[in-house]
């Protein structure tokens, strides 16, 4: 296998030459089946676990003392919790884009990055889903969000986008989990057949449910993947659209605009691809997977990031233009306050991170170098977080009557909860790379030249 990784593939190849069905299977499954856990894995999961404990601490304090430990105070009732919710769920969107939309578009390069991108989606949605619940004030009553027969005789208001969001996000989490599991089944069977440990054989065997690669099963399986992709595609677009409805349907200046849905979806994919790169670049270096996650993958992801970044830039320009062109004094003031008011630093930082800095990706030198690409992705992630922060906080802080204005100051518990969910994400992700194949083995097999059935033999 060593000779495979020593020969880096040319820039336009999505898989290095020299791989066979056997070596692909071995290289990916060994990461999971080896008894020797690499040191950096322990380092990574320690960071994740420590921050996860910080999250548990912050949540325990929140449950005992209430949301007053956060900086939220009327008029800014949404603060960090909703910022983080929108940020995390946006990150999740790239996973679904890669697994569903690129499958429908027949983009073969997705095959080696879809598995961990879907895992990223799942964990990001888990982090996202916690925030609205923690923000409820009485999180133990979260089930009140769902319509169910109850002794109080009350029901959710189906005309409210916040209730739509409950349905959208829970459907999204469910469908992502199903899609991920269906994709995993054939690879779980591979792990079951290759492991030597009795326990692992049993565990993967149960999870693989008796998958045996039968041609009859594959034919149904292919239909199922296409159907799930077809269902997940409109779903993923709807989820961030509904998230944006939480804002647009309110009349707060700076929120009440019709272009929020496409602008939010583009922003979601933008930050999601940044996260894909942040995960892929260290992963492939640590596990020597440059032959499977090639420079071509990084290049493509960077291009998607650049393209969606330009859509986001257009949205910022349009937002400013509309505020002026509408002639609405409140809209104009909202944007002006963003640029010059108490949140001006955040606003200009987000413009720098989201619009100015990513223009460097036009240069092949920067796009082609994993280190600079990694750094630009981090910048985009910070920028996208700031974007949601500025939209939420600055609009609420200075809405209509100046007498009712008030600023938001994050407390240490705001930060602890936010950083804590990053810990949860890291923790789950490290568990995932140790226990499940991080690259879809069977889909990579289909990319190999030897997977082609030579039709001239048909005779």
């Amino acid at each position: 296998m060593a000779d495979v990784t020593e020969r880096p593939p040319s820039r336009d190849k999505i898989i290095a030459p020299g791989y066979t069905f056997g070596t692909v299977t071995d290289q990916i499954s060994t990461v999971v089946l080896t008894k020797k856990t690499p040191l950096f894995w322990f380092a990574g999961i320690t960071v994740g676990l420590s921050l996860l404990f910080l999250l548990l601490w912050a949540c325990a304090l929140l449950f005992t003392k209430g949301v007053g430990i956060w900086g939220i105070m009327i008029p800014v009732g949404w603060g960090f919790a909703i910022t983080n919710f929108v940020w995390w769920i946006g990150i999740g969107h790239a996973g679904t884009l890669i697994s569903a939309i690129l499958l429908l578009l027949n983009q073969a390069w997705r095959n080696s990055i879809n598995r961990f991108a879907e895992a990223m989606t799942l964990f990001a949605v888990a982090c996202a889903g916690m925030f609205p619940i923690l923000h409820l004030g009485r999180p133990w009553l979260a089930y009140w969000l769902f319509p169910y027969p109850n002794t109080m005789g009350v029901q959710p208001n189906f005309r409210s986008p916040l209730v739509w969001d409950v349905f959208a996000v829970s459907t999204y989490a469910t469908v992502s989990a199903l899609f991920w599991y269906v994709g995993l089944m054939p690879d779980l069977a591979t792990l079951r057949d290759r492991t030597t440990s009795r326990f692992a054989k049993f565990a993967y065997g149960i999870l693989a449910m008796g998958w045996r690669g039968s041609a009859r099963h594959w034919s149904v399986y292919e239909t199922a993947s296409l159907l799930l992709a077809g269902l997940a595609t409109p779903l993923v677009l709807s989820v961030h659209t509904v998230v944006s409805f939480d804002f647009t349907i309110a009349i707060v200046p700076g929120w009440h605009s019709t272009f929020f849905p496409p602008y939010f979806v583009a922003g979601a994919i933008y930050s999601g691809f940044a996260m894909v790169l942040v995960l892929a670049i260290p992963l492939r270096a640590a596990y020597g997977l440059q032959g499977l996650i090639t420079d071509k993958h990084l290049d493509n992801a960077a291009k998607v990031m650049l393209a969606t970044g330009l859509i986001v830039a257009y949205a910022y320009i349009l937002e400013t233009f509309t505020a002026w062109y509408s002639g609405n004094v409140y809209e104009g003031a909202a944007i002006w306050n963003r640029m010059t008011g108490p949140y001006a630093v955040s606003y200009w930082a987000l413009i720098t991170c989201n619009i100015v800095a990513p223009q460097l990706l036009w240069f092949k030198k920067i796009r082609g170098n994993p280190v600079t690409l990694f750094l630009s992705s981090i910048v985009v992630l910070i920028g996208m977080w700031l974007e949601r922060y500025v939209i939420i906080v600055s609009s609420l802080a200075q809405d209509f009557v100046p007498a009712a204005w008030g600023n938001f100051h994050a407390t240490r518990w705001d930060w602890a909860t936010y950083v804590g969910t990053i810990g949860l994400f890291i923790f789950l992700f490290f568990l995932f790379i140790r226990l499940l194949p991080m690259i879809s083995i069977f889909e990579v097999r289909t990319l190999l030249p030897e997977a082609k059935v030579e039709e001239e033999v048909r005779g």
Partner: protein, 177 residues
């Protein structure tokens, strides 16, 4: 005739050989056939005439059910069970129902896709005779298997072995029950 076995299995080391073998077996008249591969092969489904399945119909049916239920749930709650005047909107304010109707449609369709996949494949299946062949573990790695089952009317142990051998496999083995 050997009744005691599940079938006979031939092992190939590339997809082209398997597809050709599957075509030859179909031409020979065998119908109780299955092939086992480490990844989906479109030509193989063609060779074994597997292109139609009922999954899309199942998904369509449950998707429509989900959408209908989602809409009726909201109609029932807002018009009949818990009517409440919000900003003077009509009780039956259908544009507000669109999002949840859509989400429930997708939810039902996606769950039925997965359950339908399991149902049509007969999963979970804790035991299958194919696993009795020791080399079958390679079907999830880099080998391609064709199995002629003993329930096939044309199945005759010796002649089937002879036929499979003529396809130049790496190995032909009996699959015990």
């Amino acid at each position: 005739m050997t009744k005691g076995i599940y079938g006979l299995m031939a092992e190939f080391d590339n997809p082209t050989a398997l597809v050709n073998a599957a075509r030859a077996a179909r031409e020979k008249g065998f119908r109780k056939l299955d092939a086992y591969t480490p990844f989906p092969i479109e030509e193989l489904s063609e060779a074994l005439h597997l292109h139609k399945n009922r999954l899309p119909l199942i998904v369509l049916f449950f998707g429509i059910c989900g959408g209908t239920l989602g809409y009726l749930l909201q109609y029932f709650v807002t018009v009949w069970y818990f009517p409440i005047n919000i900003a003077g909107r009509p009780l039956h304010s259908w544009p507000s129902y669109i999002v949840i109707t859509f989400e429930v449609t997708i939810l039902f369709a996606a769950i039925s896709t997965v359950l339908g996949l399991f149902a049509l494949c007969g999963l979970p299946m804790p035991y299958h005779p194919a696993f009795n062949v020791p080399r079958f573990a390679l079907a999830s790695r880099n080998r391609f298997f064709l199995c002629i089952e003993s329930t096939d009317p044309l199945f005759d142990h010796d002649r089937t072995v002879e036929f499979l051998e003529s396809l130049e496999p790496r190995e032909v083995s009996e699959v015990a029950h």
